[in-house]
Symmetry: C2
Subunit: 313 residues, 2 copies
């Protein structure tokens, strides 16, 4: 059954990259398997970065290969450059998430490249992907970090976001994602930026990635939803942050995001009670890392009806 | 200068009623004075309930009288019945907040009365108020508890909410407030309920009171804002809950609500940095009570411009 909105788990990448404790491959796989079984249909399972930079992802190959065996799951991975994309293509990953920053300063600090160099390398990835037979060609998603604000440059001009969104699409991106990298977004800005981008990129799907740094994560999700965005990143327990963005802790909480959408009658395909139980994997693997979430504390409201059931009634 | 949106502090009532530690009158007054100085223009300072029921409000008279000396502050108090309203009128309080539940079960459990009995008592309050000379007549705000869901009855029919909203207005309410008493609201329901009520009550202002029980508080605020609601309850540090609603901890966080609105370019009249400093009063008075909030943890974004300054530019 198709979902009206897709919530994508990014805690295994965006969450774990800010955690110094190595999470065992078996724990990662239990998280992935159980969350997929709870109905999460797309998971960013790892990052193809050099292990010396982020030792958390030393098991990227194993995690990818195992995840690809889970029926129905879209397996995605972050790549910092075309070398990472090459690894992904060899492993047969379904989706490659590439991120460049709209802010030149952030891009330099994050990947030590200018924006134009990042864009040129994305074109290399497109070439690599297109050299594959169609069945083995990964979906290429282009991300626009700091599109909603930059901890170095502050407000980022909307025209710059649109410029690089169009550039990524012209370079061959199948999808785009607009992240609130450092948790600066507000609903008015979200509407402004997403509307501007959506007006210029035609049919290319645009996803959103919000942090709950200043409490506005789900309000930003609602604002993007109002702009017809239909795919959102989130992480179980709100695990996450950005190592290059001080204080930017916390992706939006998967449990609360799924609850909000389901309670609005929007089908996510996620079984909320099964999802809540997956938290135990994180509690065991990362006992010292705080997990967030209102739904886990309060439980489902009396009389709650999942969207799919409400829609069928 | 007029504000575009009014955020009303309810922590001294809705927050403290769920806290067993008695907060000294001097601490309450420091909280009120400093928050008013930070630009919060309306504060529900206490509740006129019998002290044997809620000892926290044994100092209701002193708090009201002292608060009324603060220039420019709208001083409100909750009243459970016309006896409480009489106390408020004698004290000269500016606004009387009366709440009845749309759910019959919740009203019986909360105030041991049927809804019709509550409504009849509200008519007594209107008579009491109208017997005052105009300059001493308090504003009467009618609240519709459980309008967005009830922990006993589950979903509450929208037509019942509209029915009692109209009944309160016909009885003489100057304002209405729709609270998410038990934290069940979602943005779709908020839009449905507020639109339905606003369509029937003419020019009577309708405020919103959300809890962040399941993480959706600010998204609900955004949804109500989209319906042209311009007054919202909140509490410093998200202090709050409902003693008759298990798990319903936490009003929306004043700091995050003010930040979200200000960052959207909507003037609240609140100085965010001054507001953040008021938390120290709560930390000292209630060292064991958790305070919530993203802004207090993360601080203002680089390049942040308050709405009033942005509007003037």
């Amino acid at each position: 059954m198709s979902r009206e909105v897709i919530l994508r788990e990014v805690g295994l990448r965006d969450g774990l990259q800010s955690v110094s404790t190595f999470v065992d491959t078996t724990d990662k796989m239990e998280w992935i398997r159980r969350e997929a079984a709870a109905g999460v249909s797309e998971i960013e399972v790892t990052s193809y970065v050099p292990p010396k930079l982020l030792p958390q992802f030393v098991d990227a190959e194993a995690v990818t290969t195992e995840s690809l065996r889970i029926p129905g799951l879209t397996v995605a991975s972050l790549v910092p450059n075309s070398r990472g994309a090459q690894r992904g293509i060899e492993l047969g990953v379904h989706k490659i998430n590439f991120v460049m920053s709209v802010s030149e300063t952030h891009n330099m600090k994050n990947v030590r490249r200018s924006r134009e160099e990042s864009l040129a390398d994305f074109r290399n990835m497109v070439e690599l992907a297109r050299a594959q037979p169609p069945a083995q060609r990964p979906v290429l998603c282009g991300g626009l970090a700091t599109a909603l604000g930059c901890s170095y440059e502050g407000r980022v001009p909307v025209k710059d976001v649109v410029h690089y969104a169009v550039a990524l699409v012209e370079a061959g991106a199948d999808e785009l994602i607009i992240p609130d990298t450092v948790g600066y977004a507000n609903p008015a800005l979200v509407r402004q930026v997403f509307k501007a981008v959506l007006a210029e990129v035609g049919d290319v799907p645009v996803a959103a990635h919000f942090h709950d740094t200043r409490g506005t994560g789900l309000a930003n999700l609602l604002a993007a939803l109002d702009c017809s965005v239909r795919a959102f990143d989130a992480s179980l327990g709100g695990l996450g942050g950005c190592p290059f963005a001080p204080g930017a802790t916390g992706n939006i909480v998967m449990e609360d995001a799924a609850y909000m959408l389901e309670s609005m009658g929007i089908d996510t395909g996620i079984d909320l009670l099964a999802l809540l139980e997956v938290r135990s994997v994180l509690q065991r693997a990362l006992p010292d890392v705080p997990l967030y979430g209102g739904l886990p504390r309060a439980g489902l409201p009396r009389g709650f009806v999942p969207a799919r059931q409400a829609l069928a009634a």
